[in-house]
Amino acid sequence: MSKTIITVVGKDTVGIIAKVCTYLANNQINVEDISQTIVQGYFNMMMIVDTDRSSKPFSEMVTDLDVLGDEIGVKIRCQREDIFTKMHRI
């Protein structure tokens, strides 16, 4: 199964990673890689996750993370990895 990319972009605040990871742990989603930077005060994170054992359908996860992002005040996107690999790798 292909991997999933979760990106979080927004104003930096305490506990962003904790909240996102709690959601992922509660839904049996394994985090395989995290990279993160702060650009001009803006938090920018990318996670590569494995959703194979997730208890939720993909579309529900996308919606849940969108709602969670609204609560924290950041934008969370959850996309299948293929869109990035197809675009940037031959």
Binding site: I5, D33, I48, C78, Q79, R80, F84, K86, M87, R89
Partner: protein, 454 residues
């Protein structure tokens, strides 16, 4: 492994530069629906479309959500109706009932347009072809989602000038029949030369006879992404300019190819082609005109415009061809006026005339598209413009098309609103010298010679 910069680049293209997949179009053959009874024909058409397209919209939405890429339109194209309606239809009204069936099927499937109310008459018209063509004004005024197209010429056959003359009249009658909506019917009517069998874009989409029973075609877009990429190479030479367009087109097309494959797999319908088109919308930042201006033109229409468009069209194809396993449709840069804010502004500014647009169609992907002209323009003049455009296509072995809107009750300088993706347009000046004696000759223009290319 993919890195954060690449992920951000893709997401910026989607969020800020309006990268989207413009359409997933499901092509459906209706050849097996032929019946001598009109009722039975209509029932078979409705049943086949609704059976195959049942999951089209929901699958499109699923892909949008999972990959985070907007898929603006989900559409259907069918076999040209003139090919299947012969045994059942003896009057234009009979044809209109088929248009209404298509309209209902499209509405029930949740798609905004269905294409294929069409006839292929490049060399001659059958009685059925002519009846269908004569029913177009009524069909387009009696339906909301049906799109119509007529192919009146090709490089192989020459130009059917009887059909050209007739289409001049039909465009005019369609404008009259829909005058309450700013002659909107004409926005759903395309006159082609060298029409492709696998075009996913409306209003000219139909499912050609060279196609399988059902196929998935995808049309990509992304003028905003190309414009943004060119901003980073201002003042650089043409080699760098071309490389930048090519690389960007590659990235955009890869997304289209991915969506096409996923949609094909999930719907259980074979993948047809990716159409590599830069298709503008009326929203700011989604304009082909702005790309040309970013290359260094003060306003589209200025000297240099045709060269700029030629290189854009060619580089889009060069980049896109490698990104997709099957390329087809219209592939290139579209230059509709009402659907591109940059084109609209250029017309208002006075830099872009109908004649310059005609020159641009020699190197763009299609032709004179979504251009509002005065409602009083005679049918013979419209036919003359169609003949000119078809001649460009026939001689240059490319697809050309005309989608003119003679807006009843409006004159040069008036603004016309078509709504949604169809946009708005200023009514443009048309050359008023007469061509009716030329158009009224009747007959055919023979196919061109394929040697002595000068």
């Amino acid at each position: 492994m993919i890195n954060i910069l690449e992920v951000n680049e893709t997401n910026n293209m989607i969020e800020q530069e309006k990268l989207d997949v413009r359409t997933i179009t499901l092509g459906i053959s209706l050849l097996d629906c032929v019946d001598a009874s009109l009722d039975a024909l209509n029932q078979k058409i409705y049943a086949k479309i609704t059976r195959l397209a049942r999951n089209l919209v929901s699958t499109g939405r699923e892909i949008e959500l999972e990959y985070g890429i907007p898929i603006v339109n989900k559409r259907i194209s069918v076999t040209p109706i003139a090919l299947i309606a012969g045994p059942a239809c003896s009057t234009p009204d009979d044809f209109v009932s088929i248009a209404q069936t298509l309209d209902k099927a499209a509405a029930d499937m949740g798609v905004n347009f269905i294409g294929g109310y069409s006839a292929i008459v490049s060399k001659g018209m059958t009685r059925t072809d002519e009846l269908l063509i004569r029913s177009i004004p009524l069909a387009l005024s009696a339906t909301e989602r049906v799109c119509s197209s007529v192919n009146i010429g090709s490089t192989k056959t020459g130009i059917n000038m009887d059909a050209v003359r007739l289409m001049g009249e039909i465009v005019k009658e369609t404008a009259e029949a829909t005058k309450e909506q700013n002659s909107l019917g004409c926005a759903k009517l395309v006159v082609f030369c060298n029409a492709p069998d696998d075009n996913p874009f409306m209003a000219g989409a139909f499912h050609g006879i060279s196609e399988a029973d059902a196929v998935i075609h995808v049309g990509v877009s992304g003028p905003g992404v190309v414009k943004h990429a060119l901003e980073s190479v201002r003042g650089k030479d043409f080699e760098i300019l071309c490389e930048t367009v090519k690389k960007t087109a590659f990235k955009v097309t890869r997304v289209g190819q991915l969506v096409a494959q996923v949609a094909s797999e999930r719907l259980g319908i074979p993948f047809g082609i990716v159409d590599l088109s830069l298709a503008p919308t009326p929203s700011v930042g989604d304009s082909v005109a702005e790309i040309l201006e970013e290359m260094g033109l003060e306003s589209v229409g200025a000297p240099g415009t045709t060269a700029a468009l030629a290189l854009l069209n060619d580089q889009v194809k060069k980049g896109g061809v490698m990104a997709s396993s099957f390329v087809g449709g219209l592939s290139g840069a579209f230059i509709p006026v009402s659907e591109d804010q940059g084109m609209i502004d250029a017309v208002i500014r006075g830099s872009l005339t109908l004649e310059k647009l005609e020159a641009m169609t020699c190197v763009c992907s299609v032709g004179l598209d979504m251009i509002a002209i005065p409602g009083k323009t005679p049918a013979s003049t419209i036919a003359g413009i169609i003949a000119d455009e078809a001649a460009i296509g026939m001689i240059n072995q490319k697809t050309t098309a005309v989608r003119l809107i003679p807006v009843i009750g409006k004159d040069v300088g008036d603004m016309v609103e078509f709504g949604g993706l169809l946009g708005h347009a200023p009514v443009q000046q048309v050359n008023t010298f007469d061509c009716s004696k030329f158009i009224n000759r009747g007959g055919r223009i023979p196919a061109p010679i394929h040697s002595f290319k000068n």
